[in-house]
Symmetry: C2
Subunit: 167 residues, 2 copies
């Protein structure tokens, strides 16, 4: 038996060939708006109680630098080294704990702090990816979903290789 | 700090409007084969060391009876009560633990036992869904991926509502 502390954040990572996320629902006047990425990494992110800014640096590094993507010679490389796009999706449901037949979300962070952490996490990922792209002379992007909304999402994969990392 | 034992299995659950999974790759003679589901639940499943048959009953019940699907009046209902389809995908990567920049899978169960548990899990889900369908007079299905292969996968969702349950 290992002694574990509660994580402060949880991410689920999936590889994609393409992915599309709604960032604004359709209204009477305007069609729905979406962001799209090509080959890359889908990052579902959830902040839990006690999450603070000081975990973001490690989160960004682990998400962008862990070797999860299949390179040209089938060796695993990081999304920065692939290089590929990144789609970040807020996913508060990852904080759910099963009680009876319902999920409870008591361990999730409050919305205001969650939004702040999420916004900073996205910005830090953008910054890392942009610097890396400049150095490598490649054209990749970070896209992200809007916090607190329904994440209408579709993707195609060549195998999602789903991984969970806790912080 | 809570004292926790290592889980014996881990599932990731996502809602979908439709999903498609390759079950046989293309060859020179034959096109790739796929299974498809309509609105329902995508179940990624991974068995870890010490997983045994006696956890399967609880796993099937929790996956099929937890209220994760949005019913007609936006109330959450189980996949059995929706009713909807189920797509079960073997996903050994869920057992990964980050070491440095690589994922390690030392806690994953051996392939032979994993295949046996996976096969039984799929059969038990099929049985529960079939009984439920008969009672309700509806036409829903369980589809599943082939163990140990690349899970070439695509889906559309109205919000994946990603949840993790450990057993």
């Amino acid at each position: 038996m290992a002694v574990e502390t509660m994580p402060k954040a949880r991410v689920v990572l999936q590889q994609c060939l393409s992915a599309k996320l709604q960032i604004q629902p359709e209204t009477d006047e305007t069609p729905a708006k979406h962001v799209e990425i090509n080959r890359g990494l889908v990052v579902y992110v959830c902040f839990l109680n006690d999450a603070t800014e000081d975990i973001l640096d490690k989160m960004v590094k682990n998400v962008l630098m862990t070797r999860l993507s299949e390179g040209g010679d089938r060796k695993l490389v990081s999304i920065l080294d692939l290089p590929g796009d990144v789609l970040i999706i807020p996913q508060a449901t990852l904080g759910g704990i099963l009680k009876g037949k319902m999920m409870q979300y008591h361990k999730n962070i409050d919305k205001e702090t969650g939004l702040k952490l999420y916004t900073n996490f996205v910005e830090m990922c953008e910054q890392s990816l942009t610097e890396n792209s400049k150095n490598k002379g490649v054209d990749v992007c970070v896209k992200s979903g809007t916090y607190g909304n329904r994440q209408v999402f579709s993707c195609t994969t060549n195998g999602p290789y789903t991984h969970i990392i806790e912080f």
